[in-house]
C-alpha cells in the first residue's frame, strides 16, 4: 500500500512548496481584492444571465407554462431536458470527492472542492426546472409529504415522487459534505484575515475549529462516512431520474439500460464541465502547480472511458429496439436517424461518439486549448442527448393521430441561458470568497509526498525551515 501511495503522490504538487506557500497561494485568492480581468468580464456577463433568469421566471409566473414551447404530446420539453442535463453535471462533483476518496485516488485533492461547488450550483439549477414545470410553483410543497387541507398525500408508487426525495437528499448531502470539508479551511482564513469583518465572518463559518487531534479524529471518521454515503447516493439519484423515463411505456424510454446508461452519461458530462471550468480558472489564478497536466490528463481519460460507456448505451438502445421487432420501437430508431429531428441526432453522435475519440491520443490530452474545446463539445453533446431522449419519444409515439412537433420558444431559451448565467456567476463568487482548493488536504498531500519521496534537496524538515527563514 505504502509503495502505491509513494508512486501516486510523487509529483501531484509541482514546483517547490511548503505548507505556508500552499496556504497563502490558495487563501490569497479567496481573501484578495485583485482579480484577473477575465473574472470581472465573465462575472459581468454571467450576472446579466442571472437577470435573464429572473425575468424568465417572473414572466412564467405571470403567464403560466404556455409561454414555453410545450404542447400535447410534448409535455416535457426544455424543463426536463435541462433538469436532467444539470443534475448530470452535478454528478462529477460527487464522483470526484466521494468515489475517488474511497478509491484512494489522491489526485482528487486539488479538484474536489471545486467539483463539489459545481455539484451544488448545478443541482440548484436542476431543481428550478421541475419546480417551475409543475405549472403552479407556489403549491410545489404538495410534492412533499406535508399534511394539508386537501387531505391528499403524494403517490409513492410513482418515480416522480422518488425524484423529489432523491434530488432534495442529494442537494442536502452534497451541501453537508462540502461544508464539512470547508470547516478547517474557514479556520485558516479566520486566522489569516487582517480585517475585522472577514475575521468575524470566517470565524462564524469556522465555528471555533482549532485543529485539535481529537477534532481531526472525529472529523476524519465523519468525512469518510459522508463519502461512503454519497457514493451509493449519486448512483441512486441518476438511476431514479432515469426511472422517470423507464417506468413509462413509451418507445425509447421503456428500457432497462436506462439507469446505468444515465449514470455513465452524468459522469461523462460532469467531467466535461469540470474541465470547462478548471482549464481557464487554473490559468487565470496560476494554479498550475496544484492542478497539473496530470490532473487534466486523468480527467480526460475518465471522460473518454465514460463516453465509451455512453456510446455503448446508444448502440444497445438501437440493437434492443430492432431486436424487439416492435413496430413503434423500430420506427423510433428510424425516426431518430431520418425524422424531423435527425440533424440533432447526427450532431449528438458526432459530439458524444466521434469527437471524444481524439482523447485516445496523449498529444490531444496534453493540448489544453483542444481539451477545452472537446469538453465544450461534450457538454453540448450531452444536452443534445437529453433533447433527443425527451423529444423524439414524445413527439411520435404509438398513435400517428396524436403526433406533433416541439419548438422551444424564446422563454425556453431565456430560462436555459439564464441558469447557465446563474451557475457561472455562483462559481465565480465561490472562487472569489471560498478557498477553491481544499487547503488542509493539500498540506496533507505535501506531507505524504515529502514523507514517501524525499526531495533531492534534502529532508522535508530542513526544506520547510529554510524557506521560513528566507521568506
Amino acid at each position: 500500500m505504502q509503495e502505491v501511495v509513494h508512486r501516486e503522490t510523487e509529483r501531484l504538487i509541482e514546483g517547490k512548496h511548503t505548507y505556508e506557500s500552499i496556504t497563502s497561494k490558495i487563501a490569497s485568492v479567496a481573501m484578495g481584492y485583485k482579480h484577473p480581468l477575465p473574472w470581472y468580464v465573465i462575472a459581468a456577463i454571467a450576472s446579466a444571465g442571472v437577470f435573464l433568469m429572473i425575468v424568465s421566471i417572473a414572466w412564467l409566473l405571470l403567464r403560466g407554462v404556455g409561454i414555453w414551447g410545450i404542447n400535447q404530446p410534448i409535455g416535457w420539453g426544455f424543463a426536463i431536458i435541462n433538469f436532467v442535463w444539470w443534475i448530470g453535471i452535478g454528478h462529477a462533483g460527487t464522483l470526484i470527492s466521494a468515489i475517488l476518496l474511497l478509491l484512494r485516488q489522491q489526485w482528487r485533492t486539488s479538484i474536489n472542492r471545486f467539483a463539489e461547488a459545481m455539484t451544488i450550483f448545478a443541482v440548484m439549477c436542476a431543481g428550478l426546472f421541475p419546480l417551475l414545470h409543475v405549472g403552479r410553483p407556489w403549491v410545489a410543497y404538495w410534492l412533499l409529504p406535508i399534511p394539508n387541507w386537501t387531505g391528499a398525500w403524494p403517490q409513492f408508487r410513482s418515480p416522480l415522487i422518488w425524484d423529489v426525495f432523491a434530488v432534495t437528499t442529494y442537494f442536502t448531502v452534497s451541501l453537508l459534505f462540502w461544508f464539512t470539508g470547508l470547516i478547517p479551511d474557514f479556520a485558516t482564513l479566520r486566522d489569516r484575515a487582517k480585517k475585522r469583518f472577514a475575521q468575524i465572518i470566517y470565524g462564524i463559518l469556522a465555528m471555533g475549529w482549532r485543529g485539535s487531534a481529537k477534532h481531526w479524529h472525529r472529523y476524519e471518521a465523519a468525512y469518510l462516512l459522508l463519502a461512503g454515503l454519497s457514493t451509493p447516493l449519486v448512483v441512486s439519484v441518476h438511476s431514479i431520474v432515469s426511472l422517470d423515463f423507464a417506468v413509462s411505456l413509451l418507445p425509447g424510454w421503456h428500457t432497462t439500460i436506462f439507469p446505468p446508461y444515465f449514470v455513465a452519461g452524468a459522469i461523462y458530462s460532469g467531467f466535461a464541465m469540470v474541465l470547462t471550468l478548471v482549464i481557464p480558472i487554473r490559468a487565470w489564478y496560476k494554479m498550475q502547480d496544484f492542478i497539473t497536466m496530470k490532473h487534466l490528463d486523468w480527467m480526460a481519460k475518465v471522460m473518454l472511458a465514460t463516453g465509451l460507456i455512453v456510446f455503448y448505451g446508444y448502440i444497445m438502445e438501437i440493437f434492443t429496439a430492432l431486436y424487439s421487432g416492435h413496430d413503434a420501437e423500430v420506427y423510433l430508431v428510424a425516426n431518430r436517424f431520418f425524422g424531423p429531428y435527425a440533424p440533432f441526432f447526427w450532431a449528438l453522435l458526432i459530439c458524444n461518439g466521434l469527437i471524444p475519440q481524439a482523447l485516445w491520443s496523449p498529444r490531444v490530452r496534453q493540448n489544453i486549448p483542444l481539451l477545452f474545446v472537446i469538453s465544450l463539445i461534450v457538454n453540448v453533446g450531452m444536452w443534445l442527448e437529453r433533447f433527443i431522449i425527451v423529444v423524439t419519444s414524445l413527439h411520435r409515439d404509438f398513435l400517428p393521430s396524436s403526433w406533433g412537433m416541439y419548438f422551444p420558444t424564446i422563454w425556453d431559451w431565456g430560462l436555459f441561458l439564464g441558469t447557465i448565467g446563474f451557475f457561472t456567476f455562483m462559481m465565480f463568487l465561490f472562487v472569489r470568497f471560498v478557498p477553491m482548493i481544499a487547503i488542509f488536504e493539500m498540506r496533507d498531500l505535501l506531507h505524504r509526498q515529502d514523507e514517501h519521496a524525499p526531495a533531492p534537496t534534502g529532508a522535508p524538515a530542513t526544506r520547510v525551515a529554510t524557506t521560513e527563514v528566507s521568506g
Binding site: 422518488w162 482549532r210 481529537k214 462516512l225 454515503l229
Partner: protein, 177 residues
C-alpha cells in the same frame, strides 16, 4: 496572584516532531493533553491516547432511524391514511417504497455524521483558551502544537515546561484560562 492556567503549549515545525513529542509525553505519564495540527496527522490521536467511535455509531443509528422513518411514512400514507387503487396493484406495494426509504436512510445518516461530528467536538464553540496561546494562528496554517493541560495530575508549572522544552520545541509558553 497569577491568572489561572489552561496549560503549557509547545510549538513544533513538523508533524513528525509533534508525534514524537506526544509519544514522549504519554511515556512521561501525562494524560490530559491535546495536539493541534494544520492537517490530520496519522497516528496523532493514538499518540495522545485518544480513541472515539461515537461518530460512526451515530451515523449507523441515524441511518437506521432514517430507514424506519422513511418506510413508516410511506406505509402510513399509502396503506392507512390514503389507500389508492392504481391499476389493481396491491395497496402495500413495498418494493415501490424502497427508493424513498434508501434516500431517507442516507439523508438521516448524513445529518448524523455532520451534527455528530460537530456535537462531539463541542462545536460551534465561540471561545476556547487555546486561542490565547502566542502564535496559535499558525496551527491552522503551518505549525504543530502540543498542549499539556493544567488539569493533568502530573502538571507542574516548572517541570512541565522543562519537559516540553526537552522535546525539541521551538517555543514553549503558558496559556491563560
Amino acid at each position: 496572584m497569577s491568572v489561572p492556567l489552561h496549560g503549557i503549549i509547545a510549538e513544533y515545525e513538523t508533524a513528525e516532531e509533534l508525534l514524537h513529542a506526544a509519544r514522549r509525553a504519554r511515556e512521561a505519564g501525562y494524560t490530559r493533553m491535546d495536539a493541534y495540527s494544520p492537517f490530520p496527522v496519522h497516528g496523532l490521536a493514538e499518540a495522545i491516547g485518544f480513541e472515539d467511535h461515537k461518530v460512526p455509531w451515530t451515523v449507523f443509528l441515524s441511518g437506521v432511524v432514517g430507514a424506519i422513518a422513511g418506510f413508516a411514512l410511506q406505509y402510513y400514507i399509502s396503506v392507512i391514511d390514503y389507500p389508492l387503487n392504481v391499476g389493481g396493484r396491491p395497496i402495500f406495494s413495498w418494493p415501490a417504497y424502497i427508493p424513498v426509504t434508501f434516500e431517507t436512510t442516507v439523508l438521516f445518516a448524513a445529518f448524523g455524521a455532520f451534527i455528530g461530528m460537530l456535537a462531539f467536538n463541542g462545536l460551534p464553540q465561540p471561545y476556547h483558551p487555546i486561542f490565547n496561546a502566542p502564535r496559535f494562528e499558525r496551527a491552522s496554517q503551518d505549525r504543530f502544537f502540543l498542549c499539556i493541560e493544567a488539569t493533568d495530575p502530573l502538571f507542574d508549572r516548572t517541570h512541565t515546561r522543562h519537559f516540553l522544552e526537552s522535546t525539541g520545541a521551538r517555543l514553549v509558553s503558558e496559556v491563560e484560562e
